[in-house]
Symmetry: C2
Subunit: 111 residues, 2 copies
């Protein structure tokens, strides 16, 4: 009788956990691309960067870069602001920022 399947409370929790896992995995998926992660890293300090600045890091064609930026934007990870001819982007999701910080500690931390 102590079975997860037969316990409605645990069932609900399991379902909530599953939903959280779906949300989280969707965000991770958006981040789990080398170029997109590089872009996010440039924004990980919370500051804004223009597309031109971001372009310097990746060696992507301009449309590809714009496309990757579009993915991050549609997933709500970043938001843009226009200033004259330039677009400035920043990380717009606190959860993403927290993950980026952990990634920095774990992958770029001191040896």
């Amino acid at each position: 009788m102590n079975n997860v399947i037969e316990n409605p409370t645990l069932m609900a929790n399991a379902e909530a956990l599953r939903q959280n896992a779906r949300d989280a995995s969707q965000m991770l998926k958006a981040m789990s691309h080398p170029d997109r992660l590089m872009l996010l890293c440039q924004l990980a300090d919370g500051a804004e960067r223009s597309v031109s600045e971001l372009e310097e890091l990746t060696d992507l064609h301009q449309p590809s870069l714009s496309q990757q930026i579009g993915v991050l934007r549609r997933e709500g990870l970043i938001e843009g602001r226009r200033d004259g001819k330039h677009m400035f982007y920043r990380v717009a999701d606190a959860r993403a920022l927290a993950i980026l910080q952990t990634l920095y500690e774990q992958f770029c931390g001191a040896p």
Copy 2:
């Protein structure tokens, strides 16, 4: 002259950053799958779980479950130990554990 492209130190840092981003994105990719993330969540406390236990959470066919476990194993995120007929898995990468903890805080934390 204050150009990133022409500064060898920054160049080296950029290349190191790129490599870190590649490493990190590879790990994120392994985690960015709802079923695999659910599996990892079950192991996020550092404890071991048998495949049978893990199976209760996902509604995957056995071969599919085994395949996802295989992905995590090949990426080095988990390691297994055999005990009789059962295999017990645990998270085998401290970086993954740190990320999982952050995910828990951000996606399962109190409102």
